[in-house]
Amino acid sequence: MNSPVGKRKARHHPIVRLTHWVSALALLIMGASGLRIFNAYPAFARKGEYFGWWPWEGQPIAANLTFGAWLGGARHWHFAMMWVLVANAVVYVGFLFLHGEWRSLRPVRGDFRDALEMTKFYLYLRPKHPVQDSKHNALQKNTYLVMLLAGVMAVVSGLAIWKPVSLGWITTLMGGYALARWWHFLAMLILATLTIIHVIMVFAVDPYAIRAMTTGGYDEDRFSPEARNARPFVHLLPAEAASSAIAVTDAAALRTEAEK
Protein backbone atom coordinates (compact mmCIF):
# COMPACT_ATOMS: atom_id res chain seq x y z
CA MET A 1 0.00 0.00 0.00
CA ASN A 2 2.80 2.37 0.85
CA SER A 3 4.74 1.71 -2.34
CA PRO A 4 4.14 3.30 -5.75
CA VAL A 5 1.24 1.91 -7.79
CA GLY A 6 3.49 0.87 -10.67
CA LYS A 7 5.45 -1.47 -8.44
CA ARG A 8 2.43 -3.40 -7.23
CA LYS A 9 1.97 -5.51 -10.32
CA ALA A 10 1.73 -9.24 -9.67
CA ARG A 11 5.06 -10.95 -9.33
CA HIS A 12 3.87 -13.91 -11.42
CA HIS A 13 1.61 -13.88 -14.44
CA PRO A 14 -1.62 -15.88 -13.85
CA ILE A 15 -0.42 -18.47 -16.40
CA VAL A 16 2.76 -18.98 -14.40
CA ARG A 17 0.76 -19.36 -11.18
CA LEU A 18 -1.65 -21.83 -12.74
CA THR A 19 1.03 -23.95 -14.41
CA HIS A 20 3.07 -23.91 -11.21
CA TRP A 21 0.34 -25.63 -9.22
CA VAL A 22 -0.68 -27.97 -12.02
CA SER A 23 2.89 -29.15 -12.36
CA ALA A 24 3.18 -29.47 -8.57
CA LEU A 25 0.24 -31.87 -8.57
CA ALA A 26 1.29 -33.65 -11.76
CA LEU A 27 4.86 -34.12 -10.54
CA LEU A 28 3.65 -35.43 -7.20
CA ILE A 29 1.40 -38.01 -8.84
CA MET A 30 3.93 -38.91 -11.53
CA GLY A 31 6.62 -39.38 -8.89
CA ALA A 32 4.56 -41.44 -6.48
CA SER A 33 2.90 -43.63 -9.13
CA GLY A 34 6.29 -44.02 -10.81
CA LEU A 35 7.74 -45.33 -7.57
CA ARG A 36 4.90 -47.85 -7.33
CA ILE A 37 5.67 -49.00 -10.88
CA PHE A 38 9.36 -49.16 -9.99
CA ASN A 39 8.56 -51.39 -7.00
CA ALA A 40 7.24 -54.11 -9.33
CA TYR A 41 10.89 -54.60 -10.33
CA PRO A 42 13.01 -52.34 -8.12
CA ALA A 43 16.16 -52.96 -10.13
CA PHE A 44 17.68 -51.94 -13.44
CA ALA A 45 19.51 -55.00 -14.73
CA ARG A 46 18.26 -56.99 -17.68
CA LYS A 47 17.58 -60.58 -16.67
CA GLY A 48 20.91 -62.41 -16.76
CA GLU A 49 22.89 -59.16 -16.60
CA TYR A 50 24.46 -57.06 -13.86
CA PHE A 51 23.76 -53.41 -13.08
CA GLY A 52 26.25 -51.57 -10.86
CA TRP A 53 23.84 -49.81 -8.52
CA TRP A 54 24.99 -51.44 -5.32
CA PRO A 55 23.61 -51.50 -2.67
CA TRP A 56 20.27 -50.27 -4.00
CA GLU A 57 19.73 -52.77 -6.83
CA GLY A 58 16.65 -54.76 -5.81
CA GLN A 59 15.69 -52.45 -2.93
CA PRO A 60 12.03 -51.41 -3.12
CA ILE A 61 10.77 -47.93 -2.20
CA ALA A 62 8.71 -47.57 1.01
CA ALA A 63 5.05 -48.13 0.14
CA ASN A 64 4.07 -44.88 1.89
CA LEU A 65 5.90 -42.90 -0.77
CA THR A 66 3.98 -44.58 -3.57
CA PHE A 67 0.62 -44.00 -5.18
CA GLY A 68 -1.69 -46.23 -7.17
CA ALA A 69 -2.00 -49.17 -4.75
CA TRP A 70 -0.93 -51.77 -7.33
CA LEU A 71 1.09 -51.94 -10.52
CA GLY A 72 -1.90 -51.67 -12.88
CA GLY A 73 -3.46 -48.82 -10.89
CA ALA A 74 -0.18 -46.90 -10.76
CA ARG A 75 0.31 -47.39 -14.51
CA HIS A 76 -3.14 -45.95 -15.24
CA TRP A 77 -2.32 -42.85 -13.18
CA HIS A 78 1.16 -42.53 -14.66
CA PHE A 79 -0.01 -42.80 -18.28
CA ALA A 80 -2.92 -40.40 -17.71
CA MET A 81 -1.02 -37.79 -15.73
CA MET A 82 1.86 -37.75 -18.22
CA TRP A 83 -0.37 -35.86 -20.67
CA VAL A 84 -1.24 -33.29 -18.01
CA LEU A 85 2.43 -32.85 -17.20
CA VAL A 86 3.44 -32.42 -20.84
CA ALA A 87 0.50 -30.20 -21.83
CA ASN A 88 1.15 -28.03 -18.78
CA ALA A 89 4.86 -27.80 -19.62
CA VAL A 90 4.04 -26.80 -23.20
CA VAL A 91 1.80 -23.98 -21.93
CA TYR A 92 4.46 -22.82 -19.45
CA VAL A 93 7.40 -22.94 -21.85
CA GLY A 94 5.25 -21.37 -24.56
CA PHE A 95 4.44 -18.54 -22.14
CA LEU A 96 8.13 -18.09 -21.26
CA PHE A 97 8.96 -17.55 -24.90
CA LEU A 98 5.96 -15.41 -25.87
CA HIS A 99 6.39 -13.09 -22.87
CA GLY A 100 10.17 -12.95 -22.96
CA GLU A 101 10.39 -14.45 -19.48
CA TRP A 102 12.81 -17.05 -20.78
CA ARG A 103 15.42 -14.35 -20.21
CA SER A 104 15.06 -14.81 -16.46
CA LEU A 105 16.06 -18.48 -16.84
CA ARG A 106 18.60 -18.20 -19.66
CA PRO A 107 22.04 -19.30 -18.51
CA VAL A 108 24.55 -16.48 -18.83
CA ARG A 109 28.17 -15.94 -17.94
CA GLY A 110 28.51 -15.08 -14.28
CA ASP A 111 25.75 -17.47 -13.16
CA PHE A 112 28.25 -19.58 -11.31
CA ARG A 113 29.86 -16.58 -9.65
CA ASP A 114 26.44 -15.20 -8.65
CA ALA A 115 25.38 -18.56 -7.25
CA LEU A 116 28.61 -18.65 -5.26
CA GLU A 117 27.85 -15.16 -3.88
CA MET A 118 24.33 -16.29 -2.87
CA THR A 119 25.81 -19.32 -1.13
CA LYS A 120 28.30 -17.11 0.68
CA PHE A 121 25.43 -14.85 1.78
CA TYR A 122 23.46 -17.83 3.11
CA LEU A 123 26.55 -19.03 4.97
CA TYR A 124 27.06 -15.59 6.58
CA LEU A 125 30.26 -15.13 4.59
CA ARG A 126 28.96 -11.88 3.15
CA PRO A 127 26.71 -9.40 4.93
CA LYS A 128 24.43 -8.17 2.15
CA HIS A 129 22.06 -10.08 -0.11
CA PRO A 130 23.52 -9.93 -3.64
CA VAL A 131 21.73 -7.49 -5.95
CA GLN A 132 19.22 -9.25 -8.19
CA ASP A 133 18.41 -8.13 -11.70
CA SER A 134 15.52 -10.57 -12.11
CA LYS A 135 12.88 -12.05 -9.84
CA HIS A 136 15.10 -15.03 -9.09
CA ASN A 137 18.40 -15.09 -7.31
CA ALA A 138 21.20 -17.02 -9.00
CA LEU A 139 20.64 -20.20 -6.98
CA GLN A 140 16.92 -20.16 -7.78
CA LYS A 141 17.50 -19.45 -11.44
CA ASN A 142 19.94 -22.33 -11.81
CA THR A 143 17.59 -24.63 -9.90
CA TYR A 144 14.57 -23.83 -12.07
CA LEU A 145 16.60 -24.26 -15.24
CA VAL A 146 17.92 -27.64 -14.09
CA MET A 147 14.36 -28.68 -13.15
CA LEU A 148 13.14 -27.81 -16.64
CA LEU A 149 15.97 -29.82 -18.19
CA ALA A 150 15.32 -32.73 -15.81
CA GLY A 151 11.68 -32.57 -16.92
CA VAL A 152 12.75 -32.88 -20.56
CA MET A 153 15.00 -35.78 -19.58
CA ALA A 154 12.10 -37.46 -17.75
CA VAL A 155 9.82 -37.12 -20.77
CA VAL A 156 12.35 -38.38 -23.32
CA SER A 157 13.47 -41.34 -21.18
CA GLY A 158 9.81 -41.98 -20.34
CA LEU A 159 8.94 -42.30 -24.03
CA ALA A 160 11.86 -44.71 -24.40
CA ILE A 161 10.41 -46.94 -21.66
CA TRP A 162 6.78 -46.61 -22.73
CA LYS A 163 7.36 -47.51 -26.40
CA PRO A 164 10.72 -49.34 -26.61
CA VAL A 165 9.79 -50.84 -30.00
CA SER A 166 7.49 -48.29 -31.64
CA LEU A 167 9.84 -45.50 -30.55
CA GLY A 168 12.87 -47.78 -30.51
CA TRP A 169 15.15 -45.04 -31.83
CA ILE A 170 14.65 -43.06 -28.60
CA THR A 171 15.37 -46.19 -26.56
CA THR A 172 18.58 -46.70 -28.56
CA LEU A 173 19.47 -43.05 -27.98
CA MET A 174 19.12 -43.65 -24.22
CA GLY A 175 21.48 -46.61 -24.41
CA GLY A 176 18.79 -49.30 -24.37
CA TYR A 177 15.77 -50.13 -22.25
CA ALA A 178 17.57 -50.85 -18.97
CA LEU A 179 19.55 -47.58 -19.12
CA ALA A 180 16.46 -45.64 -20.19
CA ARG A 181 14.83 -46.75 -16.92
CA TRP A 182 17.91 -45.56 -15.09
CA TRP A 183 17.83 -42.11 -16.78
CA HIS A 184 14.13 -41.90 -15.99
CA PHE A 185 14.81 -42.70 -12.33
CA LEU A 186 17.67 -40.18 -12.20
CA ALA A 187 15.45 -37.45 -13.68
CA MET A 188 12.90 -38.24 -10.95
CA LEU A 189 15.60 -38.06 -8.26
CA ILE A 190 16.76 -34.65 -9.53
CA LEU A 191 13.19 -33.32 -9.70
CA ALA A 192 12.25 -34.72 -6.29
CA THR A 193 15.40 -33.38 -4.59
CA LEU A 194 15.07 -29.89 -6.07
CA THR A 195 11.34 -29.80 -5.34
CA ILE A 196 11.92 -30.66 -1.69
CA ILE A 197 14.66 -28.01 -1.39
CA HIS A 198 12.37 -25.54 -3.15
CA VAL A 199 9.53 -26.14 -0.69
CA ILE A 200 11.85 -25.90 2.32
CA MET A 201 13.34 -22.64 1.03
CA VAL A 202 9.87 -21.16 0.48
CA PHE A 203 9.09 -21.57 4.15
CA ALA A 204 12.59 -20.82 5.40
CA VAL A 205 13.41 -17.77 3.28
CA ASP A 206 10.44 -16.41 1.40
CA PRO A 207 7.00 -17.36 2.80
CA TYR A 208 5.58 -14.34 0.95
CA ALA A 209 6.17 -16.34 -2.21
CA ILE A 210 3.18 -18.53 -1.34
CA ARG A 211 0.82 -15.57 -1.71
CA ALA A 212 2.69 -14.37 -4.78
CA MET A 213 2.24 -17.79 -6.37
CA THR A 214 -1.46 -18.16 -5.47
CA THR A 215 -3.46 -14.92 -5.33
CA GLY A 216 -0.54 -12.95 -6.74
CA GLY A 217 -0.14 -10.25 -4.08
CA TYR A 218 3.43 -9.19 -3.51
CA ASP A 219 5.18 -6.03 -2.37
CA GLU A 220 8.67 -6.08 -3.79
CA ASP A 221 9.98 -3.33 -1.46
CA ARG A 222 8.76 -4.93 1.75
CA PHE A 223 8.71 -8.65 1.06
CA SER A 224 11.49 -9.51 -1.38
CA PRO A 225 14.28 -11.53 0.25
CA GLU A 226 16.67 -8.89 -1.02
CA ALA A 227 14.74 -6.12 0.81
CA ARG A 228 14.59 -8.22 3.97
CA ASN A 229 18.19 -9.38 3.56
CA ALA A 230 16.71 -12.79 4.34
CA ARG A 231 18.78 -15.83 5.07
CA PRO A 232 17.19 -19.26 5.62
CA PHE A 233 15.08 -19.25 8.83
CA VAL A 234 15.92 -15.63 9.75
CA HIS A 235 14.68 -12.17 8.73
CA LEU A 236 11.24 -13.45 7.81
CA LEU A 237 9.47 -10.19 8.75
CA PRO A 238 8.67 -7.46 6.19
CA ALA A 239 11.51 -5.09 5.40
CA GLU A 240 10.31 -2.07 7.41
CA ALA A 241 9.47 -4.09 10.54
CA ALA A 242 13.03 -4.13 11.78
CA SER A 243 13.71 -0.46 11.05
CA SER A 244 10.38 0.78 12.51
CA ALA A 245 11.07 -1.22 15.63
CA ILE A 246 14.31 0.67 15.94
CA ALA A 247 12.49 3.98 15.29
CA VAL A 248 10.06 3.27 18.13
CA THR A 249 12.86 2.58 20.58
CA ASP A 250 14.70 5.67 19.37
CA ALA A 251 11.63 7.84 19.94
CA ALA A 252 11.15 6.33 23.38
CA ALA A 253 14.79 7.03 24.20
CA LEU A 254 14.45 10.64 23.04
CA ARG A 255 11.31 11.09 25.12
CA THR A 256 13.03 9.75 28.21
CA GLU A 257 15.91 12.09 27.45
CA ALA A 258 13.50 15.07 27.21
CA GLU A 259 11.68 14.25 30.45
CA LYS A 260 14.92 14.28 32.36
Binding site: I37, R46, K47, G72, V165
Partner: protein, 264 residues
Amino acid sequence: MTTPEKPLRLVRRAGDLMDRTVESLRSSGQMERRDFLRLGSLALGGALLSACNSQGPKWADGWLKTAEKQNEKVERWLLSHDKINRGAPGAMLAGDKFPSYFISPTVPLWDYNTGPWFLEIGGAVKKPVTVSLMDLMALKSRRQRVEHFCVEGWSAVEILTGALMTEVARRVEPTSDANYVDFVSFDKNYHESWDIESALHPQTIVAYAKEDVLLSPAYGAPARIHSPIKLGYKNTKYLTKIMFMPERNGGYWSDIGYEWYGGT
Protein backbone atom coordinates in the same frame (compact mmCIF):
# COMPACT_ATOMS: atom_id res chain seq x y z
CA MET B 1 -3.74 -56.63 -6.51
CA THR B 2 -5.94 -55.11 -3.86
CA THR B 3 -8.52 -52.37 -3.85
CA PRO B 4 -7.91 -50.47 -0.60
CA GLU B 5 -11.22 -48.79 0.06
CA LYS B 6 -10.55 -48.27 3.75
CA PRO B 7 -7.88 -45.52 3.63
CA LEU B 8 -10.03 -43.64 1.11
CA ARG B 9 -13.06 -43.77 3.35
CA LEU B 10 -10.93 -42.45 6.21
CA VAL B 11 -9.68 -39.58 4.07
CA ARG B 12 -13.21 -38.66 3.10
CA ARG B 13 -14.42 -38.80 6.69
CA ALA B 14 -11.49 -36.66 7.88
CA GLY B 15 -12.21 -34.19 5.09
CA ASP B 16 -15.89 -33.97 6.06
CA LEU B 17 -15.01 -33.37 9.71
CA MET B 18 -12.58 -30.63 8.73
CA ASP B 19 -15.16 -29.00 6.47
CA ARG B 20 -17.79 -28.98 9.20
CA THR B 21 -15.40 -27.59 11.83
CA VAL B 22 -14.13 -24.83 9.59
CA GLU B 23 -17.66 -23.93 8.47
CA SER B 24 -18.95 -23.61 12.04
CA LEU B 25 -15.93 -21.54 13.09
CA ARG B 26 -16.42 -19.31 10.09
CA SER B 27 -20.13 -18.73 10.60
CA SER B 28 -19.60 -17.95 14.31
CA GLY B 29 -17.14 -15.27 13.24
CA GLN B 30 -14.19 -16.88 15.01
CA MET B 31 -12.19 -17.33 11.89
CA GLU B 32 -10.91 -15.01 9.21
CA ARG B 33 -10.55 -15.92 5.57
CA ARG B 34 -6.79 -16.16 6.03
CA ASP B 35 -7.07 -18.71 8.84
CA PHE B 36 -9.63 -20.55 6.80
CA LEU B 37 -7.17 -20.81 3.91
CA ARG B 38 -4.42 -21.88 6.30
CA LEU B 39 -6.55 -24.62 7.79
CA GLY B 40 -7.67 -25.59 4.33
CA SER B 41 -4.11 -26.07 3.15
CA LEU B 42 -3.41 -28.17 6.23
CA ALA B 43 -6.41 -30.32 5.38
CA LEU B 44 -5.23 -30.65 1.78
CA GLY B 45 -1.78 -31.69 2.98
CA GLY B 46 -3.36 -34.26 5.28
CA ALA B 47 -5.48 -35.64 2.46
CA LEU B 48 -2.43 -35.91 0.22
CA LEU B 49 -0.52 -37.73 2.95
CA SER B 50 -3.31 -40.22 3.52
CA ALA B 51 -3.53 -40.74 -0.25
CA CYS B 52 -0.20 -42.53 -0.02
CA ASN B 53 -0.28 -46.02 -1.48
CA SER B 54 -3.97 -45.65 -2.28
CA GLN B 55 -5.56 -46.21 -5.63
CA GLY B 56 -6.74 -42.63 -5.81
CA PRO B 57 -10.24 -41.21 -5.59
CA LYS B 58 -13.14 -43.06 -7.19
CA TRP B 59 -14.21 -40.02 -9.22
CA ALA B 60 -10.95 -40.24 -11.14
CA ASP B 61 -11.76 -43.68 -12.53
CA GLY B 62 -13.71 -42.31 -15.49
CA TRP B 63 -10.88 -39.97 -16.36
CA LEU B 64 -8.32 -42.79 -16.09
CA LYS B 65 -10.46 -44.98 -18.37
CA THR B 66 -10.68 -42.17 -20.93
CA ALA B 67 -6.93 -41.69 -20.78
CA GLU B 68 -6.40 -45.41 -21.37
CA LYS B 69 -8.66 -45.30 -24.45
CA GLN B 70 -6.88 -42.24 -25.83
CA ASN B 71 -3.49 -43.80 -25.10
CA GLU B 72 -4.55 -46.88 -27.04
CA LYS B 73 -5.30 -44.66 -30.05
CA VAL B 74 -1.88 -43.06 -29.78
CA GLU B 75 -0.22 -46.45 -29.42
CA ARG B 76 -2.04 -47.90 -32.43
CA TRP B 77 -1.04 -44.83 -34.41
CA LEU B 78 2.60 -45.32 -33.37
CA LEU B 79 2.54 -49.04 -34.21
CA SER B 80 4.48 -49.74 -37.35
CA HIS B 81 5.27 -53.03 -39.08
CA ASP B 82 8.61 -51.50 -40.06
CA LYS B 83 9.74 -51.16 -36.45
CA ILE B 84 11.80 -54.26 -35.74
CA ASN B 85 13.28 -55.12 -32.35
CA ARG B 86 16.83 -56.52 -32.62
CA GLY B 87 17.07 -57.74 -29.04
CA ALA B 88 19.33 -55.08 -27.49
CA PRO B 89 22.55 -55.60 -29.47
CA GLY B 90 25.43 -56.25 -27.12
CA ALA B 91 23.20 -57.46 -24.28
CA MET B 92 23.50 -60.92 -22.74
CA LEU B 93 20.95 -63.63 -23.47
CA ALA B 94 18.88 -64.21 -20.35
CA GLY B 95 19.05 -68.01 -20.81
CA ASP B 96 17.67 -69.81 -17.80
CA LYS B 97 17.57 -66.49 -15.88
CA PHE B 98 14.50 -65.76 -17.99
CA PRO B 99 11.60 -65.75 -15.50
CA SER B 100 8.86 -68.24 -16.19
CA TYR B 101 5.31 -67.83 -15.02
CA PHE B 102 1.90 -69.43 -15.36
CA ILE B 103 -1.33 -69.09 -13.45
CA SER B 104 -1.93 -72.78 -12.71
CA PRO B 105 -0.61 -74.01 -9.36
CA THR B 106 1.97 -76.16 -11.15
CA VAL B 107 3.65 -75.97 -14.55
CA PRO B 108 0.91 -76.58 -17.14
CA LEU B 109 1.67 -79.76 -19.09
CA TRP B 110 -0.32 -80.95 -22.07
CA ASP B 111 -2.11 -84.11 -21.01
CA TYR B 112 -1.27 -86.56 -23.77
CA ASN B 113 -3.74 -89.09 -22.32
CA THR B 114 -6.47 -86.89 -23.79
CA GLY B 115 -4.80 -87.09 -27.21
CA PRO B 116 -2.02 -85.30 -29.07
CA TRP B 117 -1.62 -81.52 -28.91
CA PHE B 118 -3.23 -79.57 -31.70
CA LEU B 119 -3.49 -75.87 -32.37
CA GLU B 120 -6.92 -74.74 -33.50
CA ILE B 121 -6.98 -71.69 -35.75
CA GLY B 122 -10.47 -70.43 -36.48
CA GLY B 123 -13.13 -67.87 -35.72
CA ALA B 124 -13.73 -65.17 -38.30
CA VAL B 125 -11.80 -67.00 -41.03
CA LYS B 126 -12.68 -68.63 -44.35
CA LYS B 127 -10.58 -71.76 -43.84
CA PRO B 128 -10.32 -72.80 -40.20
CA VAL B 129 -7.64 -75.41 -39.54
CA THR B 130 -6.29 -77.56 -36.76
CA VAL B 131 -2.54 -78.09 -36.96
CA SER B 132 -0.11 -80.38 -35.19
CA LEU B 133 3.29 -79.23 -33.95
CA MET B 134 4.83 -80.78 -37.08
CA ASP B 135 2.43 -78.81 -39.32
CA LEU B 136 3.30 -75.66 -37.42
CA MET B 137 7.02 -76.26 -37.86
CA ALA B 138 6.51 -76.73 -41.59
CA LEU B 139 5.12 -73.21 -41.95
CA LYS B 140 7.34 -70.32 -43.00
CA SER B 141 9.22 -69.43 -39.84
CA ARG B 142 11.41 -66.76 -38.34
CA ARG B 143 14.31 -67.09 -35.93
CA GLN B 144 14.71 -63.83 -34.05
CA ARG B 145 16.74 -62.35 -31.26
CA VAL B 146 14.33 -60.14 -29.33
CA GLU B 147 14.05 -58.22 -26.12
CA HIS B 148 11.02 -59.28 -24.11
CA PHE B 149 9.43 -56.46 -22.08
CA CYS B 150 7.55 -57.32 -18.92
CA VAL B 151 4.90 -54.99 -17.52
CA GLU B 152 6.83 -55.12 -14.23
CA GLY B 153 9.71 -53.26 -15.79
CA TRP B 154 12.27 -55.95 -16.43
CA SER B 155 13.38 -57.05 -19.85
CA ALA B 156 15.19 -60.15 -21.06
CA VAL B 157 16.84 -61.07 -24.33
CA GLU B 158 16.10 -64.40 -26.00
CA ILE B 159 16.23 -66.08 -29.38
CA LEU B 160 12.88 -67.46 -30.45
CA THR B 161 11.91 -69.49 -33.48
CA GLY B 162 8.35 -69.87 -34.66
CA ALA B 163 5.82 -69.76 -37.48
CA LEU B 164 5.00 -66.28 -38.74
CA MET B 165 1.54 -65.10 -37.75
CA THR B 166 1.24 -63.46 -41.18
CA GLU B 167 1.74 -66.93 -42.66
CA VAL B 168 -0.86 -68.45 -40.32
CA ALA B 169 -3.32 -65.73 -41.34
CA ARG B 170 -2.56 -66.27 -45.03
CA ARG B 171 -3.49 -69.96 -44.65
CA VAL B 172 -6.79 -69.42 -42.81
CA GLU B 173 -7.84 -66.26 -44.68
CA PRO B 174 -9.44 -64.01 -42.02
CA THR B 175 -12.71 -62.39 -43.07
CA SER B 176 -12.76 -58.63 -43.56
CA ASP B 177 -14.39 -58.07 -40.16
CA ALA B 178 -11.58 -59.85 -38.26
CA ASN B 179 -10.26 -56.89 -36.26
CA TYR B 180 -9.01 -58.83 -33.26
CA VAL B 181 -7.27 -62.10 -32.47
CA ASP B 182 -7.67 -64.10 -29.29
CA PHE B 183 -4.80 -66.30 -28.11
CA VAL B 184 -6.16 -69.04 -25.85
CA SER B 185 -4.14 -71.38 -23.63
CA PHE B 186 -4.57 -74.57 -21.63
CA ASP B 187 -3.11 -72.79 -18.58
CA LYS B 188 -6.48 -72.62 -16.80
CA ASN B 189 -8.55 -69.82 -18.39
CA TYR B 190 -5.57 -67.72 -19.54
CA HIS B 191 -6.09 -65.92 -22.82
CA GLU B 192 -5.34 -62.46 -24.23
CA SER B 193 -6.92 -60.79 -27.24
CA TRP B 194 -4.92 -58.52 -29.54
CA ASP B 195 -5.60 -55.93 -32.20
CA ILE B 196 -5.08 -57.50 -35.65
CA GLU B 197 -2.31 -55.02 -36.61
CA SER B 198 -0.14 -56.20 -33.73
CA ALA B 199 -0.97 -59.84 -34.45
CA LEU B 200 0.22 -59.38 -38.04
CA HIS B 201 3.43 -57.57 -37.11
CA PRO B 202 6.33 -59.33 -38.92
CA GLN B 203 7.87 -60.21 -35.53
CA THR B 204 4.73 -61.87 -34.17
CA ILE B 205 5.37 -65.60 -34.22
CA VAL B 206 3.84 -68.80 -32.92
CA ALA B 207 7.06 -69.76 -31.16
CA TYR B 208 8.06 -73.38 -30.55
CA ALA B 209 11.79 -73.03 -29.86
CA LYS B 210 13.90 -70.87 -27.57
CA GLU B 211 17.62 -70.62 -28.25
CA ASP B 212 17.21 -73.38 -30.87
CA VAL B 213 15.79 -75.91 -28.41
CA LEU B 214 12.11 -76.85 -28.36
CA LEU B 215 10.25 -74.83 -25.72
CA SER B 216 10.37 -76.40 -22.28
CA PRO B 217 7.16 -76.52 -20.21
CA ALA B 218 8.40 -73.59 -18.10
CA TYR B 219 8.45 -71.37 -21.19
CA GLY B 220 5.12 -72.36 -22.66
CA ALA B 221 5.55 -75.74 -24.42
CA PRO B 222 4.50 -76.85 -26.93
CA ALA B 223 3.91 -73.40 -28.47
CA ARG B 224 3.26 -69.81 -27.45
CA ILE B 225 2.52 -66.54 -29.17
CA HIS B 226 5.34 -64.05 -29.00
CA SER B 227 6.03 -60.57 -30.26
CA PRO B 228 8.32 -57.86 -28.89
CA ILE B 229 5.56 -55.43 -29.88
CA LYS B 230 3.46 -56.56 -26.89
CA LEU B 231 4.22 -56.59 -23.18
CA GLY B 232 4.90 -60.03 -21.74
CA TYR B 233 1.44 -60.63 -20.32
CA LYS B 234 -0.18 -60.31 -23.76
CA ASN B 235 2.01 -63.15 -25.10
CA THR B 236 -0.08 -66.22 -24.25
CA LYS B 237 1.90 -69.37 -23.47
CA TYR B 238 0.64 -72.99 -23.65
CA LEU B 239 -1.30 -72.04 -26.76
CA THR B 240 -4.32 -74.11 -27.86
CA LYS B 241 -6.40 -71.74 -29.96
CA ILE B 242 -5.93 -68.73 -32.22
CA MET B 243 -9.33 -67.19 -32.82
CA PHE B 244 -9.88 -64.30 -35.24
CA MET B 245 -12.75 -62.10 -34.06
CA PRO B 246 -14.74 -59.01 -35.06
CA GLU B 247 -14.79 -57.82 -31.40
CA ARG B 248 -12.21 -57.95 -28.66
CA ASN B 249 -12.87 -60.18 -25.68
CA GLY B 250 -10.44 -58.93 -23.06
CA GLY B 251 -7.95 -61.26 -21.50
CA TYR B 252 -6.71 -62.70 -18.24
CA TRP B 253 -4.62 -59.71 -17.06
CA SER B 254 -6.63 -57.15 -19.04
CA ASP B 255 -9.76 -58.18 -17.15
CA ILE B 256 -7.92 -57.82 -13.83
CA GLY B 257 -7.20 -54.20 -14.73
CA TYR B 258 -3.97 -53.95 -16.69
CA GLU B 259 -4.23 -52.09 -20.01
CA TRP B 260 -5.86 -54.22 -22.67
CA TYR B 261 -3.56 -52.89 -25.38
CA GLY B 262 -0.27 -53.60 -23.57
CA GLY B 263 1.90 -52.54 -26.49
CA THR B 264 5.57 -51.63 -26.50
